[in-house]
């Protein structure tokens, strides 16, 4: 049976799309058949994170009734299947959100996990993405505004009877102004199942359109995402240890710039 998991945040800019993209790739690397769907039809950027921009047929076309969903599925890293939303504002005018449900029913065929990257906020498109799911993964940063917004999303998800798997705390830094894991769990009344540290490498990899779990699988961020993926499907997680760098490799990295 296909698991339909929506990744939602409430507030924009918390790294939800990057988490979704990398989680999709991580799940696929464990041998799962994964489809990642960008439901953020107004502010789509999943395709940018995965380096798949400029695709001719996108979810926009499917929701506008111009193309079948099969034509909007593209293969990404580790064999993850991706349905980009498309970034054309022109296409947005013709979109019929009601077709999303029908689209999803086609997607779940032959798929183990359908990951939906939900739009931020609580507009109709965001709630459609929540309502379409069986389970939801909440992503937040440990900052007050993010927690405030994700709390609203959590309440709506509860009302829609969507099973909340847990909270992913993204871009964690040890800063006293941020909320602790315990405080987040207390406020949201949902367990924190992953803590992903802040790392500039994530933005760099996104800029190059390459998921960090592929670009730098040894990094703490990649290990945290791989662990989250393993936990979601009940597989054993083995951290990827850094290589023992040789003198030449070290010299080259020294010449190319630090870390």
């Amino acid at each position: 049976m296909t698991r339909v998991i929506t990744v939602a945040s409430g507030k924009g800019g918390v790294g939800k799309t990057i988490v979704t993209a990398n989680l999709g790739v991580a799940l696929a690397s464990y041998g799962e058949s994964v489809v990642v769907l960008d439901a953020d039809i107004a502010m789509a950027n999943l395709e940018l994170v995965l380096g798949m921009e400029g695709k001719s047929v996108t979810l926009h076309d499917v929701l506008a009734g111009k193309a079948p969903i099969e034509e909007a599925i593209y293969e990404g890293p580790e064999g993850v299947k991706v349905v980009p939303a498309g970034i054309s504002l022109e296409g947005l005018r013709n979109v019929k959100l009601e077709r999303l449900e029908e689209t999803l029913s086609h997607l779940v065929e032959n798929t183990d996990i359908l990951l939906i990257d939900a739009p931020a906020g609580l507009e109709k498109d965001a709630i459609s993405a929540l309502a379409a799911a069986d389970e939801v993964l909440l992503v937040t940063t440990p900052e007050v505004p993010s927690i405030s917004d994700v709390l609203k999303t959590k309440i709506i998800a509860d009302k829609l009877d969507v099973n909340i798997i847990g909270v992913v705390v993204n871009r964690e830094q040890h800063d006293k102004t941020f909320l602790t894991k315990e405080e987040i769990e207390t406020i949201l009344e949902v367990p924190v199942i992953a803590v992903i540290p802040e790392d500039v490498e994530v933005s760099r990899s996104a800029a190059f359109g390459e998921p960090i779990v592929v670009k730098n699988p040894k990094s703490p961020v990649s290990n945290a995402i791989m662990k989250l993926a393993a936990d979601l499907i009940g597989k054993e997680f083995h951290p990827i240890e850094p290589d023992k760098k040789g003198v030449i490799a070290k010299l080259i990295s020294g010449l190319m710039g630090r870390r």
Partner: protein, 319 residues
Amino acid sequence: MELPITRPTQVSYGDELDFDKFLEKLARKRYNGFIRVTHASSEGHILLKEGIPVAASYDRYMKKEAMEKILEIIDKINTLIELFEVKESHIDYLIEINKVYKLEPIKEKVKPPTEIETKEETKPPTEIETKEETKPPTEIETKEETKPPTEIETKEVIDELEVAEATGTKEASGIAAEREEIKVLNREEVMKKYGLKDIDEEEVEKVLEAYKGGAITTIDIERVELTLMNKIKQSIMGIPNIKSAEVMIFLENMPELGGDIKVLIERESKGLLSRLISGVMNEEELREHTYDIIEMEIKKTFRGYPEIIENFNINIEVH
């Protein structure tokens, strides 16, 4: 080492910093984080758990060798020393992914323990010992505790706790339970601390209604059905030679408003001659005319949403 490089909490040059005192200070603070040391094109890291170095790397060196290399360049004028703080909960994880750099625990060079000593060391602490460990410290004890612990002392405390936890002794589970108790926070207090509040039921309903396609309730739907039914019936009855008209409307509001409209029309006269004389519409014309009437009434009812007509199935029967 693979470490999350964020903003350093302290930056110094080797000649400006007494590294021994610096390490002592970190041990005293039971600091969790890491030190990055940069000298020319070489870079090294010392990972600290509760102030104790637990892993080290420098250039191609690892573990103890790396520490020795770092100590060789640590007081040089062009050595940059940066300190990064890491959350306590991340430390074990960072140790795990960097375990190739893990330093061996410092062991005191003592004579091999006799059999009796070994037994004594491994026996679980008695209840009294546990109680003593967990009782609140007196003022004198607190003062004593604030004195800088030596590296070995601190390491011993960590080792003891790790051993207790690893062996799964009752004491360890007791300590863990105690920790859990401490962690239980009051939601109201935490919410108040950060100025957060739950959204009220009314607001939630508004959000969900908007998602369902507008603020239309079941009562509204029944009212719309009745109004639309009467309007369509009145318009049909305005057509000449119509004996009766039955209009049935079944509206649905999910995912958006639409439904089925069924109309049964009975004409007064079915005779060909009378129809020719009075100029009444034939069956097909009447069906088309009725269809136009229904469309117009729907559009008039839902002004501003003419496209809603696509959501209706219209069925007309003429007898």
